[in-house]
Every structure is written in structure tokens, then in C-alpha cells.
Amino acid sequence: MRKNSKIFLTAAAVMMIVTSGTVFAESDSGENLSVVLYANGSFGDNAYFDGNKEGVLRAEEELGIKAKLIEGGSEQADYKPAIEALAASGEYDIIVTLTGKTSDIVLELADKYPEQDFFVMDTTMNEVRPNIFNSMYNQCEGSFLAGAFAALVTSSTELENANPEKVIGFVGIMDSPTINDFYDGYEQGAHYVDSEVEVLKSYIGDSTNAPKAKELAMAMYNSQNADIIFNVGASAGLGTLEAGNEAGKYTIGVDINQNGIYPGSVLTSMLKNSGSGIYNAIALYQKGELEMGTSQLWGIKEECIGLAEDELYDEYVPDSIKERMEEITENLVNGEIEVRSELY
């Protein structure tokens, strides 16, 4: 009897170990992919980082993955130890990082942790590893649309707050390759529509100084007769949008749909839909169709870039401009217009 119970207990223990083992294995396989987004900044900017966050949360809801969000803040020295800790923990199937500020770190860690998969979004990497997927959004293409739109607005006679001077503005975060890529596209787009349009350019200097962004935008409106400004200013850019509203002029939002912040003043937004980018990458990875170890450029065709055409856009933008924009977008998609970028 005693012997029997011992055998029984042993058998039960073995069963438990086996079952727990299978349970463990199950959670590790594709069903419950666990993804961590490491943002080298902070959420709540109503723009770039919020867009990325949205994408990961959408994937959690629709694809049934386990998502975790981490805010790295603005201290660059923190990024490497934080990302390394994530890789070393082995808790996550995919670590998603953003922008060129993290690409070198990931490149180094990819060698050290070959079992860990990384997504590096929104930057071009010259070399990748088999466990890295890299994608760049074609912001130059999107800015081209914004520039064409701005040029149409400044020459418009239908929009009551557009003045006769053909001057448009650009307020960016800082003089960096990525921000200048936005500008390059913007200028090309504006000159595609009308080569006489003058494009003003200025930089805030950092991503939080909203009062300064507002001052710069105000100077463009009041001293240079600009009537529309493209805001590429992260959190500080909210100051640019406010200036547009206060001056009774127009602005173009950036990254996510900012049209609703000042309806009628923010006419449209250049969507750098980094959320869909991450979502698509995770979905492809889940299906096993993502080509790891590659670097890809995603643009209008992949629906990662475009203008925000919502009901506010319908309400405030004249039909003539809408029609022209459709035409230009079509030409961009079918390759009749080529946007030159220095980055890719």
C-alpha cells in the first residue's frame, strides 16, 4: 500500500513536470508572442512616440501578443544598459527600438545575444544581423505631400486666411539628418507645385521648448508673411500649432493625426504612421513572413506614410486642393514623381 502510494506520488510528480513543461513550451511558441517597445523618449508627445505606442497596443489587442512599453527618457547614456537588460532577461521574443539613436546599440547587442530578435524602426542601418529587422519610413515622400499641400494653400484664393505672398514655413526640432530629410521633401513638394514658392526654415533647438517654437512660428507669420507652416517639432511643436491658431493662419501637423488639436487651423497632418509600421512588422513576424536580417524602406505604398484626410480635412480644405492632392498622391504611388532623399 505504502509502496503503491509512493509510485503514485512519483508518477504524479512526473506528470506535473511534464505538463508544466508543455505549458511552458506553449507560451513560448508563436501564440503568445511577447514584445517590448523601448522608446528613447517619452510618450504623451501627441506625435511620434504616441504613434509607436498605439501600434504596439493595437497589436496586443488584435494579434493577441503580450506587449510591454518602456519609456527611456532623454538621457542617452541610459539606453544601452536598459536595452541590454531587456535582452539579457530573455523575457521577450522581440525588442523594438526606435531611431538612429539606438541602432548602434542594437547592432552590438545582436552579436552578444544571438537568440534575441530585434526590430529597429525608423532609421537606416548600413549593416544588419540575422536577428535584426530594420525598417525606415519614407518621411521624405510624406513631406513631399505636405510641401505640395502647403504650396497649394499659400496660392489658394478660396481659403480666406491665405495671403497673396507665396511664402510657406517649416519649424523643425533641430538641424539633424532626419529633420532635414523632412525639409528636403517639403521643399521638393512645394516647388513641384509652384517653383516660385519661398520656403522658410528654422529650428527650435530641442524638443521641449514650446514657447520658442511658438515665437519662431509667430515671426514667420507676422514678419515674413507666411500663411502655412509645417510643424516637425515633437512636443515643442505644439507651440507651432498654437501659433497658427492664434495668428489665424494654417499649420500642417506631423507623425500622427493632429488635425483635431486646432480644427480649421491644422488643415492636415503628415502621417508618419510608425504605429502601422510596427504593427505590420509584428503581424508579419507572427506569420513567419518577416525577412529578418534585412533593411527595408516603407512609404506610401505600405501605408506607413500619407496625409491625414479625416472629416476635418473634408470640412476645411477646398475641393480644388483635395483633387490636386489626390492626383499628386497617385503619381507618387505609381512612381511618376520621384522624391530625392539624401538618407536613402
Binding site: 504623451g44 519661398e198 528654422s202 533647438g205 521641449t208 514657447p211 505644439l238
Partner: protein, 318 residues
């Protein structure tokens, strides 16, 4: 380009910009001056302003009244300054170190509260903010040149008034004399029965109020939003302006105006079409000017100090 700048000066539009840029710096600098007089270099100006910027817009949005907003901002800022004073005077913490701690704390607590109450950690743009009013003076605004005095925010006037009041308090009141005495020599002040601790705390409270007004101006006067770390170095510029002004109220005013002008010119140049000057250089203009002025000022001061010394040594030799 120079013609354009000159035009801006002529049609006075540059002054509106200068005053707007100068007001927060000036308020913080005068606040810092009070702390300076009792012998503390208050690094925490930045943090005090940031906290005020946050609380003023929150209360402003809740009550729909700009004045309550400023009051709340001042209260928060005074709290921060008293905390700093407490560390320094009660626990003898080093004032630079604790000042930095205060700044880090302010930056973090505003983001934390933003996250807890508004679910965002980067910015807060409430509806229903009543902006601090602009003072338009009915008759003056139509007269050329004199119209310069009209159309500025209420806070701009407070900022300039604070300079005058500060000068009166420093040089015309017993409190001012006590303040200097405590700063120059605590032992001597104590020996004549001055309660030095009380004076020090009062100086920090005044500093808190002034920083509070400056911070409220940033979030509810120039813009109507709060963005994390939106003070963007204004507090540190205020410290530079204090040294530039030789720790005298009117000197601070002069220093502040120089910085404001440099900043306004940088903004105008930055937005001027077709310029090939690197933007990094343009952005550095205000700081370069500040450093230049500071150096010139130091050299002048040294000359003044060295002058009589040389004479004395000369007479000894002779």
C-alpha cells in the same frame, strides 16, 4: 537681412518679442537675487518655474481664471523654494547639490502628476484655459513710439515692476539692510539681534513667488499648454543674468534686456528666408552674447578693483 532687422526695430515689433522673452528670465533673476543676497546661489530657479508652469495651467483650466492659476503656481513654487531652504539651512546641505536635486525632482514630479492625472507624460493641452491678459492702453496705442508701452502681457509689467520694487526693498528698507547684513556676515547680523533664519526663509519665499509668476507666464501667458521641461534653461539663464548684472537690480534688468534682444534677433534671423548661416550658430547667438558681456563685465570689474591697489603699491615703492 540687416535692413529687415532694422525695420523690425523701427516698427517696434521686435520689442514685443523681447519683452515676452525677457519677462520670465527677469522674474527668476530677481528672485534669485534675493537668495543671492542671503548668500545662496539658487540653482533651483528652473525647477521652481517648472512646477509653477504645471500647477498654474492645471488650476487655470479647472477654474477658468488666470489669476487663480498664477496663485496656484506661486504656491507650488514657494513650496519648492522652501523645501530647498529647508535642506540648506536646517540640514546644511550644499546649495548647488540640493539645487540640482530640486530641479530633477521638479522635472520628474510634473511628468509623474501628468501621467497620473491626465494619462500623458509629455504634454498637457487643456481646453478652457484663460490666458493671462494683454494690457492695451487706450490712448497710447495710437501714438507712434509711445505705443511701445501698449500691448504687452500683464506679467511683462509685473516683471519690470519687480525690478523697481526689488531696488527699493534692497536699498530703502530695513528689511533690505538686514538681508545684506545676513548675506555679508551672519555672525555680525546675529550679534545685533537680527533673526537671520527668518530673513533667509523670507528671501526664499519671495524668490518662490517671483519664479512662480515667471513659470505661470510660460504655460498660461506665452502659450496655453504644459510640455515637460518646458522651462528649457530659463532658470539657468536667469543665474547668468544675475552675474551679468553684478547682483544689482538694475544691472539684472540691463543683463536681461541684452539677453532678450539677442534671443529675439536670433529668432528673426532664423526665420529669414534663404540664409546660409548654420542654424546651430544662430541658436548659439544669445549664449555667445551673454558670455561676451559677462567677460567684458568681469574685465571691467577687475580693472576697477586693481586700480587703487596699484596706486598704493606704487606709493609704497616710491
Amino acid at each position: 537681412m540687416f535692413r529687415f532687422l532694422f525695420q523690425q526695430v523701427l516698427n517696434l515689433s521686435i520689442f514685443t518679442m523681447v519683452f515676452k522673452l525677457v519677462a520670465p528670465v527677469l522674474l527668476a533673476a530677481i528672485g534669485g537675487l534675493f537668495c543671492g543676497k542671503v548668500g545662496v546661489m539658487n540653482i533651483g530657479l528652473e525647477g521652481a518655474m517648472l512646477v509653477s508652469a504645471f500647477f498654474s495651467i492645471v488650476v487655470n483650466a479647472m477654474t477658468g481664471n488666470w489669476f487663480f492659476g498664477i496663485l496656484a503656481g506661486c504656491a507650488a513654487s514657494v513650496f519648492i523654494c522652501l523645501m530647498l531652504a529647508f535642506f540648506i539651512f536646517k540640514y546644511k546641505a550644499h546649495h548647488i547639490v540640493s539645487g540640482f536635486a530640486i530641479n530633477t525632482f521638479a522635472s520628474a514630479i510634473t511628468v509623474f502628476l501628468l501621467q497620473v492625472f491626465f494619462g500623458s507624460s509629455g504634454s498637457y493641452q487643456p481646453a478652457g484655459v484663460q490666458m493671462i491678459p494683454v494690457v492695451n492702453i487706450p490712448v497710447l496705442e495710437n501714438i507712434p513710439v509711445v505705443s511701445l508701452l501698449s500691448g504687452h502681457s500683464f506679467i511683462v509689467w509685473i516683471a519690470f515692476l519687480s525690478v523697481i520694487l526689488c531696488s527699493i526693498v534692497f536699498y530703502k528698507t530695513p528689511f533690505g539692510a538686514h538681508l545684506m547684513a545676513v548675506g555679508e556676515n551672519v555672525q555680525a547680523a546675529r550679534s545685533v539681534g537680527i533673526n537671520d533664519l527668518k530673513i533667509k526663509y523670507v528671501a526664499f519665499i519671495i524668490c518662490g513667488i517671483l519664479c512662480g509668476i515667471g513659470g505661470a507666464f510660460l504655460s498660461t501667458g506665452t502659450t496655453s499648454m504644459f510640455v515637460r521641461d518646458m522651462t528649457a534653461g530659463n532658470g539657468f539663464i536667469a543665474l547668468a543674468v544675475i552675474s551679468l548684472g553684478n547682483s544689482k537690480p538694475y544691472g539684472v534688468l540691463r543683463g536681461g534686456l541684452i539677453f532678450g534682444f539677442a534671443n529675439a534677433i536670433a529668432i528673426l534671423i532664423e526665420t529669414y528666408p534663404g540664409l546660409t548661416i548654420p542654424s546651430q550658430f544662430i541658436q548659439a547667438i544669445p549664449y555667445i552674447v551673454t558670455i561676451l558681456m559677462l567677460s567684458i563685465h568681469t574685465i571691467q570689474n577687475n580693472r576697477k578693483m586693481m586700480g587703487p591697489v596699484k596706486k598704493i603699491s606704487g606709493s609704497v615703492n616710491g
